[in-house]
Assembly symmetry: C2
Homo-oligomer: 141 residues x 2
Amino acid sequence: MIKDFSYLIKDKGFKVTQIRKDILGIFSNDCKPINAEYIYKVLKNKKTNLVTIYRTLVSFEKEGILKRVDLHKESVYYELVDDHHHHHIICLYCKKVYNFNGCKEDSDLLISKALKQNKDFNSISHHSFDLFGICKKCSKK
Amino acid sequence: MIKDFSYLIKDKGFKVTQIRKDILGIFSNDCKPINAEYIYKVLKNKKTNLVTIYRTLVSFEKEGILKRVDLHKESVYYELVDDHHHHHIICLYCKKVYNFNGCKEDSDLLISKALKQNKDFNSISHHSFDLFGICKKCSKK
DNA sequence: TTTCTTGCAAATTTTTTGCAACTTA
DNA sequence: TAAGTTGCAAAAAATTTGCAAGAAA
């Protein structure tokens, strides 16, 4: 389902433009980490520009709308920050990404322990907890 | 201190060359995530080649000697897999990296929960648990 | 001597920048 | 209309590839 992201965009201090709504629509619809190239292909018929997409991704990340996800792939992937709390298991060979539901309490506990140790931060805006291994299919090969 | 990594290199099926020992020496000595360019500068007087460094990093990652670390910077950083178990807190503005000692039991628990949920993996070779926020210095600005 | 490694040059890919034209508020 | 956005062209930066020469086992 495509939500209307106008409020979120405006709330973060951006002007509401079609492409920004489109980009967030794709994130909301696809529910997986995506990169600039992917967005470009989806929006190609709308004559979008890759440069604009890059700029949008960077600015949305700075404002906490998107977060980077490191899939150990060639380019940078992003996800909605406000997504359902989950983590990734990534196959080191085929790079396929599987989600799993991390227990929010568990990771919150780890974060509070970290903040007690490190006095350079007041708070944490988001975190990554990703597992890397070789999936069963690739192990067989 | 610089350890001798010859055995590790040979054990993973590589030939023991000076540059491979040098690269692992740097990782062992510096104890922080580093990228190809950094290694290149450290070894510059030895007339090293960036291409060789890239190839070494990629092959060492595949064999589980190194792991990628995503610092949300321009290039790819690596760390020794066999390092002391720790995690990172990264400032989204200045990109400075702070370490903290994650409790190994806690993250092992999360990993076992993940493996129960997801049946596509038998085991996990390594994981990332990194926190992102804005450090106190950058908050003041 | 066989196999793996390295270096060089060049290519590819991803991401960024400058600037003028265009939109949103 | 003022301030922020976009598109185009071009540049910059990071990483990869092919191939011949060199080094390890």
